[in-house]
């Protein structure tokens, strides 16, 4: 008995899909909870919080809950550290039945005691998961008490999975970060106009380092990535920046706004993916310093960098041009920058989907997209298969769960998520990106896959 699943599309889902047509007002339904029974690709609040906070390298991250939530997030994100590796360990209270019945506060306090005794950390983040939200443990109280007892920071992160979506997790994380930053001892009186923080980058494959090198060349000074390769101390100094730049807005715009309010640090959104975006963003940074010399140096630097990579990029472009791409990623911002990058390589995007894109982002996507492009919100494998086939995509960009799907369909795949191994940021990243596209799209294995 063999069934191939028809392209069933549930009525409810239809509003989450549009096909771009010229001069037509088209709205997409987004920003909503997945419907019950869907094979949704979405993650939870806790997952979102963990994404943002995990790269703080010298912190201990304790997951207060049953073991699973902690096991699945153990060292799965490729955030790199130049210093401590503490953050890569998995700490959990592994709640048991009796804790569920009698409450888990005691166990949490015990876990903090034990970790202080064996590893003497300076800062501990305590994440609550769904169950903790339901049994009603007073996280704040336990954390406060531990802070007093040990004279260290113990910061609660309220991230019960059911209370919203991944985005709410980002917010919970941002709240935790701002509470950490607000430390008067680290405040300096006169700010240097050349100092900035770089928000919304988690140093996957060392991307923060690439950008930091650029900054050194053009004469600006990065206090810290937030949170890529950050330490507690660096985050406390972040309040002294003259301005903030934000790469991944979905996760970090909220923090930027809070920092503006609390520390009077203005912010600007940037993107360092793709050559044009990188160049524009660097110039933007230079302008924000208001320093004529920096602006001039940046212009020279960009010119030089572009020249350095032009010939190699051209080679890749020749090999990749004309191929069709399907995109399915977490945030809308990333989708937008990917469309542009594929354009730079002469490739066409035929399908774009996101898990948590916002309305404005979908509007931009529609503007950028070619006629006939399918645009989706929070989709599932059946829909993905249908549109990939229909549109004849040669390449899918997605996350962990999409990789085997693409391979089964016999098309190439790129992970633009936390499993990427090569940095894709900046000028070097543009080359790596082209290289990865070429590596997969032009592999001989696809010739072996029979057409289904």
């Amino acid at each position: 008995m063999k069934k191939s699943v028809e392209a069933y599309t549930l009525e409810d889902r239809k509003k989450h899909i549009v096909v771009k047509e010229k001069n037509k007002e088209q709205g997409i339904k987004c920003d909503q909870h997945s419907i019950s029974g869907a094979v949704s690709q979405r993650a939870c609040v806790y997952c979102g919080a963990r994404v943002v906070l995990n790269p703080i390298t010298d912190a201990v991250h304790i997951i207060h809950g049953p073991i699973g939530c902690s096991s699945y997030t153990w060292d799965i994100r490729g955030s790199l550290s130049s210093d401590s590796e503490m953050y890569r360990n998995s700490f959990s209270t592994d709640l048991q039945e009796r804790d569920i019945i009698f409450g888990g506060e005691k166990k949490l306090a015990g876990a903090i005691d034990e970790i202080v005794e064996s590893m003497s950390p300076q800062t501990i983040f305590v994440y609550s998961t769904c169950v903790v939200g339901v049994i009603g443990d007073d996280l704040d109280a336990v954390c406060k008490q531990a802070e007093k007892k040990y004279n260290i920071r113990v910061i609660p992160v309220k991230s019960s999975g059911f209370a919203g979506s991944k985005k709410d997790g980002y917010q919970a994380a941002c709240n935790a970060i701002i509470s950490l930053m607000d430390d008067k001892e680290y405040k300096i009186d006169i700010k240097d106009h050349r100092t900035l923080n770089y928000l919304g980058d988690f140093n996957l494959a060392g991307e923060v380092w690439i950008l930091n090198n650029y900054f050194k060349e053009i004469g600006v000074n990065m206090i810290t990535g937030v949170t890529g390769d950050s330490t507690i101390e660096k985050l406390k100094k972040a309040q002294n920046a003259s301005f903030n730049i934000v790469q991944c807005a979905g996760s970090s715009i909220y923090l930027a706004k809070m920092m503006e309010e609390r520390f009077k640090i203005p912010y600007e959104q940037v993107s360092f993916f793709g050559i044009q975006d990188t160049a524009n963003s660097l110039l933007n940074v230079a302008r924000l310093t208001g320093d004529k010399k920096i602006i001039r140096d940046t212009e020279v630097f960009i010119k030089q960098k572009k020249a350095d990579i032009a010939s190699i990029l051209q080679k890749y472009k020749e090999k990749c041009a004309g191929k069709k791409v399907a995109i399915y990623v977490g945030g809308g911002f990333k989708a937008i920058s990917l469309i542009k990058q594929f354009n730079e390589l002469g490739m066409t995007t035929v399908m774009v989907g996101t898990q948590t894109g916002r309305q404005e982002e979908y509007d931009t996507i529609k503007e950028l997209a070619e006629e006939g492009t399918v645009i989706l919100d929070d989709t599932n494998p059946t829909e993905l298969q249908k549109f990939i086939k229909e549109k004849g995509a040669d390449l899918l960009v997605g996350g962990v769960k999409e990789r085997p799907l693409a391979y089964k369909l016999g098309i190439a795949f790129i992970d633009h998520n936390h499993e990427r191994k090569l940095p894709l940021l900046g000028f070097e990243g543009a080359v790596n990106f082209a290289k990865e596209v070429d590596l997969t799209v032009n592999s001989p294995v696809w010739n072996l896959v029979r057409e289904g």
Binding site: V5, G37, C130, R450
Partner: protein, 455 residues
């Protein structure tokens, strides 16, 4: 990464550092995938489901789908009844599975949703089935989840009455790879024994590439076969922790005699399995299997000196670790640190008996342990090799010892879902891995004058 692990061991009772287990639903999901045309359904928030799918996807490198009730705050206050009812409707309407296997999560368990009642109240389309298992993660581990869902297959689908004896053996392979299930099936066929295997994930999570995505691949035990389980001669359950509960359930329900053996990993456990098959069916051992066994013994003789007397640490799921420890002893290795994250006194008892019989003293043995325990033991009593899942790589690197990957999950190598570890062939493969790991390390690190062509 493990530079913070202190050598000095202090007692921990609240904190788990670097777990050697994960939660029940993922095991339940894996078991459910061993039913043909089955969609696992996670009754809880979407986050859990997403994590479980992601983890299985990483291990098998095949698309793993499951649906979820997608709890919101409302569900937590009013219960998840409407989410599940709506969820099941949606699932049958869009994804059209033969069977939906519902597992609970910590959240729905804590809220106290009564699955029996909810599902009784749900309209299930003609000819379709819903089975369910309670899988709270604050009890046990992923192995219990597997066991619970395997048992649920029996409770919910097997026909109550024995109609006619079907002359088959019911085989429960345990929480092993699809390749292991195929190997057990191959052995059964060689002996000429008719059987029904459940769950059977071969050709579900290691499907061939056809250029097409099948939501319900060819493999898996069918509902008709499951219904027929009550007519089997006897059940052979492999692995006490993962399989015994379902065998007992079948015995209780349909009077099919339950026999629990080890997961057939290693020469002795494979011998035991084959003896059990012969004993239950009166068949005799075919020439091919005798040859395979002879080849295995030959390899063991040829290279016993590569690893004799070396100390090993073994960790992972209890059924696998128990069998692997027995195998290690038969190879002349000395297991000195043996650990599972899954709770259960039976584990420690069985391992200690084996060690005692082999005259191995002062070994550390622990159930409900974590990898910080294991690392600290190794710091105090160094070993030459680590055998376990991918998570062992941190310790292997920190202590510069080779890791032989075995068990679940394996997130950084391929092959496990295509080549067996069970049976005589599987034993040969494990020996090859152990020997190669030692020799590769030696070749890279030995002094120039010790570097040899023939080893």
């Amino acid at each position: 990464m493990l530079e913070n692990t202190p050598k000095e061991i202090t007692k921990r009772s609240a904190l788990v550092v670097n777990p050697a287990k994960t939660c029940q639903p993922i095991g339940a999901m894996y078991a459910a995938l061993g039913i043909h045309g089955c969609l696992p359904h996670s009754h809880g928030s979407q986050g859990c489901c997403s994590f479980h799918r992601m983890h299985l996807t990483r291990h098998f490198r095949d698309p793993i789908v499951a649906s979820t009730s997608s709890f919101t705050e409302g569900a937590c206050v009013f219960g998840g009844k409407s989410n599940l009812k709506k969820g099941l409707e949606t699932v049958f309407e869009i994804y059209n599975p033969d069977v939906v296997a519902v597992n609970t999560t910590c959240l729905s368990e804590t809220i106290g949703d009564d699955l029996t009642e909810i599902i009784r109240d749900t309209k299930i389309p003609e000819g379709k089935h819903v089975i369910y298992a309670n899988t709270p993660s604050y009890y046990g581990s992923h192995v219990n989840g597997f066991s619970n869902m395997t048992k649920a297959i029996v409770s919910h689908l097997v026909n109550d009455e024995k109609i006619i004896e079907n002359g088959k053996l019911a085989i429960i392979p345990g929480y092993v790879e699809p390749s292991d299930m195929s190997e057990v099936k191959r052995i059964l066929k060689l002996i000429g024994i008719p059987f029904i295997m459940f769950p059977d994930t071969s050709e579900v999570v290691n499907t061939p590439n056809t250029g097409k995505y099948e939501m319900y691949p060819d493999g898996g035990v069918t509902v008709d076969e499951i219904k027929d389980l009550g007519n089997c001669e006897a059940t052979v359950a492999m692995g006490k922790f993962a399989s015994e509960a379902a065998a007992f359930e079948l015995e209780k329900k349909s009077d099919v005699e339950a026999h629990t053996i080890k997961v057939p990993l290693g020469i002795k456990a494979t011998d035991d399995m084959i003896m059990k098959f012969l004993e239950l069916t009166g068949k005799s051992i075919p020439k091919e299997l005798e040859t395979e066994r002879g080849q295995l013994v030959d390899i063991m003789v040829d290279i016993h000196n590569h690893y004799h007397g070396k100390k090993v640490a073994i960790f992972g799921d209890p059924d696998i670790v128990i069998a692997m420890t027995e195998f290690a002893i038969s190879l002349g290795l000395i297991p000195t640190s043996i650990l599972t994250g899954t709770p259960g006194n039976a584990f420690e008892k069985q391992i200690n008996e084996m060690l005692e019989q082999a005259g191995i003293e002062d070994a550390k043995v622990k159930a409900s342990g974590d990898l910080m325990d294991l690392h600290q033991w190794i710091k105090n009593e160094p070993v030459d090799m680590l055998i376990g899942n991918t998570y062992g790589k941190y310790i292997a690197r920190a202590e510069n010892i080779p890791l032989v990957r075995l068990g679940f999950p394996i997130l950084d190598r391929v092959g496990h879902s295509y080549f067996p570890s069970v049976g005589y062939k599987g034993a040969m493969r494990i020996i090859e891995k152990i020997s190669t790991a030692f020799l590769d390390k030696y070749d890279m690190e030995c002094a120039e004058e010790d570097f040899e062509l023939v080893m």
